[in-house]
Symmetry: D2
Subunit: 474 residues, 4 copies
């Protein structure tokens, strides 16, 4: 008998970041901000705070509300702070990987936290190693720290753009020094980063839902390529990075972000609602009710129902106490993994032809279990509708994707997938439909995991490495 | 700075029970059953298992998934088990109150767990004390154990109906002895109790959602006044209690039970959906969208939207990581308590006239915060609709109600409440509407907390006691 | 690979008790008192405090310093308190057995904690069960609570002597009611109980070392057969129990008590020192050095060395970090269990003829390992001297003894034991020598576990029961 | 009311190290080795293990037996491992400082743990920072890692001597790479490092008591200036470091090491015993009994008693359950801090003239409390004897010393100290006496903290820095 780890058959955002400058309760508000961003990373969390002279760090494995208590927050004194929630990508699951990283170098103490990914970091890492660098983690973020430390710039603030100028990849990064909070976003703007105001203090977060919890006001996004320095002289913005065509991660709108967030200046809920509407147009279904796979499928399902005129019903209930590990019974229970999280409302499904709305299909195993569960609950037909196109490629920009060979759409046609998940019909939203629903022109959007066309160079090595890194740990 | 305890501005079910007989993984399946019933009690949980000779017990404060690990489950060997999740009513929050209770007496070892309340227990307790009984808890369940122990019946199985025959009140109870699992339900059937089958094993639970998780089949309800004895000779049913008019707790359908459960033989989701429809008829609103207070308002909101033709929108997001305690910031954040749980989707609410659907209003303070939050998010009008009548009296049948003076509807008219919660309009579902939506005739329903007409005698003392018990602990 | 539980090859005191009346920090001082009494019981601990109106309880498995934190102590408000540390005897290891017990009955709330044992409790328990009593634990202490509750005496204070008047056995008991602290000791005075003063407050403890830690003054012992009632009118003493010949447990002086305690009015250290001197006279050894098995053997070893003129050396080091469980290596390490606790000082032992002083031999397995370890460290001869006679019988008065068949001295002659433990010679202190060293006349001492002559009736049943209870749990 | 942290009025060894190569249970034996070395560091502990390909790390704050469980040890697969226990020096108490450090560089993965101190590390650190290095801890050990990483040597094994050749200071270091275990000791040999054998495996530890627990045989010391490389080809020794006059830390024999260890090839117990004898000659006392401050004073007190002919008595009892933190009562208890650890045996001290033997006096506050406690217990005279000379200077070689101004002997004469601690007389062992007792010639011994003459250069800056670092953290 062993513990049951909830199946992850989803792409996973790797991180969420939060920063604040100029508030006497900096660490405590960072704690709240991270709590609101918890869905972006559940493996580890950490906060570094500055009292103007010294940076102090607290990191641990686990959820924000479990890790931080009064004692720990009290150790983080000072009026500025940054924090991070994180998933592991692959390999090591360890406190050594938990951010923010805090180091000392010739420019003094620097803490950093990062949402994104630097596809060329491995190469640069080897180059730095050849020059004598030591690495305490496997993270590409550490590469940036080394380059900062090696910079002959007058200060960290000058060094940051110097170092990141030629760095390919996705980075929404926060730096904290004893005297300043610095935010920088890569020129393509893959991952979100929003700026807000709380009284006289400035706040920065991956998603605006973190502002809502602390009553801060969303001001605007940190722009792609922008660097913002906040210190006692106020906020100073610059655009030190080379201009590039924008590449906003559309998957944020499809799945990662909370529906109550504004991402890339656009309401996530609105995007999802419109995806649902488009899906109804592109893939209508001769059915009785529209049922979301909660919670991510809710907004699109409402849109689908609104557009199609079919009745919207909450036919699957999401358990409120879904946790991380679970003791499984020895005897086999059908679809046990899915059942711990979702349960069908039988009277709603019985005898009905159901349109089931979910955001995406990764491996297909979960979808198959859900379809079966819905059918066993009495549905006569199950029509699956997905609010984005088939996911065929890995992401190199800060999202944990399974091996290409595990992406069902990379191996199978839509009909084969339909057959595999045992649905009566299956419809994916088109690329155009998705983009239009989100309100982004293809020029400013990253859609690489659906098209295989990546906005940055991807070295052969990066790809190989990717495959290797995602092999099961022996 | 202190820890923030999520505000409870809700009536609270006091308990959930689960039992199983004849399965090698009895304790483990009880653990799963309790996990599915967690919403019925989050303060403590416990399991007692029998190996045919000896009963063993594990109880602790906390959530099922936190309390039980492999080691603890392994100590609970045997093929039968009962389990319990519990809220505290008042006074002591202590392991001493956690059920199942396990005692030894002349009839051998007996374990018991109870969902319900015995309004005359205090009187009987004093009588028993006069006869020399000692009480290890403040629970009325312990009174039943004492009476069993004093019975001269040949065995526990004979003693149970003897003892409960004249007991007024609500009891859906499970007993475990080394050789048998016994379930009994009071003659009015206030609280639910369902019987299911898992292969050759029998299972019993407060709600059928517990069966779903373990792939058991719902067979039927344990009937009001019925006693079921399960042992190695199979299941034996009898009706040893005096016949009474049924009094099913309608609040189970309004709020307590999970929507995916069948309660009193009727789908909870269906009841709620119809309540929403009736509400739309009784209290239409000139508005743009219908928004539930999630999750309990969802089914009724869908019904309201369906009936009214207004658009259903998911305008409030429920945080996935809502826990028990939370470190609050020192500075005041408006509606902090509500925000930790709910966040508005601004783009949906902005500029819209909103119908907000919730199940009930207890103190009114939470409703006021939600209305404010929705308005601050940009709603131009907020019309609150409640899927039951005004709650005006305490429950004496196993539900934790605040003092009568704290029930806003016991002190104020609907118009005054509307003013207090700052809504533009407020409509409560009528008693008839509610009953009709649930499909129960008034003869078989308890609606005492809405009407003040209690199905059992309520001694003056019980009422006074009630008030006293619910005074703030000094 | 499994966890290693430190071998218990010792008799074990089953409990320690502490009480205080009239101090604003009652619970906190009880915590300190229990900390000083920790050696008397390491499995569970608990405190009940009274604020004059209400008794509150905190109990848990584990060590005093691990179980109690600020939060827990703060819940125990009030100026009087009692506390308990406990070992399990046999069977169940469970929070259900942890004392103090707190119950309510016709006399109001009563808490009790007990050091001792009531050999006839099982009989009385069955009688009570026949009259309808329920038992929440397997403890004989609960029998006393039932009898109190059944008493028609005017109050708990009158009921206590009434109930205990005819109770055979060992009991040093503390009772707490909202308004009073009551201490009572059985007429033979098997187990110790001391009275002390801390400013205006009264304190009571199993050993005087508990007074030392809190700066209280030892006043006198609670006498055998004495009952002391402390309330707002002060301390009132009475002798309500029938007079009996005293039977002080001599094993307290041999092993259980801390050497810095005064037990039965006599310094434990002094007794042990004199035991060592007598041992040197009764069993001299032709050797080079005298080495104690620390810490219990230290005082006797110093006495032995002083008397014999041999050099005293600290040839075995006791690890400071001895804990409860330990992860053992898979490969066998010789005498691993003993080594985790003790390590030889090789340069002291090498080439020397060693007299090894320990307090007692129970099963003999530990002694054998120690002798081997000393020999492997280079000792040329090992002469074992034990500061009491061979232990041949179980204790029925509050000490956990292994089954008679596991007591090596019940099965083997001294020469056979010597052979078994591989010593060059073995000498036990004589009964007279031991008593004389302690300064007690045989009339006032219990020496039953060495002689088999028990001061109380021991029913056949009690003996049989004893054997059964100590069979390995299946 | 706050928690009470046991007063530290002692110099503190900063670390203990353990390594093993060639055993299938490498991590588990390292765990046991660290358990035996726990007294050398109680703040944090860690193990890094190698499976021949990959190094894995587990570190945490806390005691070895609390930190490691089956799950954690199982993650550390492989046949070689190194481990570390650690105190903090000053400043940050953080997981960031816990060793072993594990990094990756151009030479692959390297783990290191270090007992000692590098007085010039701060300078080198700044130099490295100027060259672009980043530091994740405040430890001087990290400087060595950077220099290794920068070395153009062919491998780590070549790089180690290259880097350490010119490093002034104290280092008994273990390195682990996927394929080798490397041990190196500075040319003066300040800190101990012993080599042992366990079947075919090699083991290395700070003290030989770690070998005893796992049944390994002490082979010899790693010599000052020696480097030992152990891999699949066996053990290879070399002496790559410049020759220097030896400087064995005599304080290891006075206090730090366990008495059952062999340190610098000499039994610690023997040294202490002889120190006691010398002390009796140098500072006789007209007294009745000799009493150690346990446990560190025991061996010297036995020696003192043996030499002087005075009676040895165990007049102070050390509590078995001394832990790290403790909840203090609000009311003042005299000498509370000392009492939690030590309690007087009154009957031994009463009316006696006592010679009290301790190893050293640091601040003097603890000695004062002990003298008072002994006197309150009834001693008529208290003569303090210390088994080393007055400690007048800080240690720069791996021992945590308070600020010079806090060392009582740096400010006061012996007579003034006697007066401060309220002793009737006070005698310190002479330098010659101490050295002779240990059997070391002054040429091979470090005695700097007693004489102020340091075996290495000590830059002005180092001294200043030292003072600064030990200022109270603001
Ligand atoms: N584990 C669960 N899974 C799904 N729904 C649940 C669960 N527990 C409770 N519910 C439903 O959710 C409602 C309560 O949740 P919610 O409305 O979010 O919180 P609140 O109790 O504060 O109103 C109940 O009506 C119940 O039907
Ligand atoms: N804390 C949260 N509160 C509300 N919604 C959330 C939260 N975290 C994540 N979400 C939303 O829920 C979705 C993920 O939840 P869900 O669909 O229930 O699980 P899964 O990740 O298994 O699909 C995301 O799309 C996100 O928008
Ligand atoms: N685990 C151990 N087992 C036995 N002796 C130890 C252990 N750890 C430390 N010691 C010895 O005990 C001495 C320190 O303990 P002690 O004197 O009781 O405390 P303090 O450090 O406060 O002086 C050290 O000299 C050391 O030799
Ligand atoms: N907290 C304590 N402080 C000092 N001495 C103690 C303490 N607890 C127990 N003792 C003494 O130590 C003895 C038991 O310890 P020891 O001999 O080391 O272990 P064991 O119980 O295995 O024989 C007892 O005789 C008791 O007198
Ligand atoms: S590849 Fe996909 S997941 Fe990654 S950034 Fe682009 S759109 Fe987002
Ligand atoms: S009074 Fe209300 S809550 Fe109580 S049983 Fe009746 S309907 Fe249910
Ligand atoms: S039988 Fe032995 S242990 Fe028990 S009370 Fe008598 S002397 Fe003490
Ligand atoms: S200065 Fe003192 S403590 Fe430091 S190494 Fe030298 S003798 Fe040891
Ligand atoms: Mg989802
Ligand atoms: Mg709700
Ligand atoms: Mg002992
Ligand atoms: Mg000491």
């Amino acid at each position: 008998m062993e513990e049951f780890h909830h199946e992850r058959d989803k792409l996973r955002e790797e991180c969420g970041v939060f920063g604040i400058y100029g508030h006497p309760e900096a660490a405590r508000l960072t704690y709240l901000g991270l709590y609101a961003l918890q869905h972006r990373g559940q493996e580890s969390c950490g906060i570094v705070a500055s009292d103007g002279v010294l940076l102090r760090s607290e990191r641990a494995m686990g959820l924000v509300s479990d890790v931080f208590d009064e004692e720990r927050l009290n150790r983080l004194s000072g009026a500025s702070a940054i924090g991070h929630v994180r998933y592991s990508t692959a390999g090591e699951v360890s406190i050594r990987e938990a951010q923010p990283f805090l180091v000392a170098c010739q420019h003094g103490q620097i803490a950093v936290c990062h949402n994104g990914n630097l596809p060329f970091a491995s190469e640069e890492r080897r180059a730095l190693e050849r020059e004598g660098a030591i690495f305490s983690s496997t993270s590409d973020t550490e590469v940036v720290l080394h380059k900062l430390a090696r910079s002959h710039a007058a200060s960290v603030i000058e060094a940051i753009p110097e170092v990141l100028r030629d760095t390919e990849g996705a980075f929404s990064m926060l730096f904290l020094t004893p005297a300043a909070l610095i935010a920088i976003r890569d020129p393509r703007g893959f991952r979100p980063l929003a700026l807000g105001r709380l009284g006289d203090a400035w706040v920065i977060a991956s998603e605006t839902c973190a502002f809502d919890l602390i009553d801060a006001q969303y001001v605007r996004d940190i722009e792609p390529g922008e660097m913002v320095v906040i210190n006692d002289h106020g906020l100073r913005s610059s655009h030190p990075l080379p201009h590039r065509q924008h590449a906003f991660c559309i998957f944020e709108h499809v799945y990662f972000a909370r529906p109550d967030s504004i991402i890339f200046g656009r309401s996530v809920n609105e995007s999802r609602h419109k995806m649902g509407k488009r899906l109804a147009i592109e893939h209508p279904a001769d059915a009785d009710i529209v049922v979301p796979v909660p919670d991510s499928g809710v907004a699109a399902a409402i849109g689908y129902a609104a557009q199609s005129g079919l009745a919207y019903r909450h036919g699957l209930v999401r358990n409120h106490y879904v946790g991380r590990t679970f003791i499984e019974p020895k005897q086999s229970i059908r679809s046990f993994g899915v059942r711990v999280k979702l349960n069908p409302v039988r009277d709603l499904l019985r005898g009905r032809r159901v349109v089931l709305i979910d955001d995406s299909i990764v491996r297909g195993t979960t979808s198959k279990k859900i379809v079966r569960m819905v059918r066993e609950a009495g549905a006569t037909e199950v029509h699956v509708r997905i609010s984005c196109p088939p996911t065929i490629g890995p992401c190199f920009y800060g999202v944990d994707t399974p091996n290409k060979s595990d992406l069902i759409a990379a191996r199978m046609s839509v009909e084969e997938i339909r057959d595999f998940i045992e649905a009566d019909s299956l419809g994916y939203l088109s690329l155009e439909g998705m983009l239009e629903a989100c309100g982004f022109s293809p020029d400013v959007a990253c859609v690489a995991c659906w098209t295989g066309r990546y906005p940055t160079r991807i070295t052969r090595e990066a790809e190989t490495m990717y495959e290797r890194e995602h092999e099961p740990v022996p």
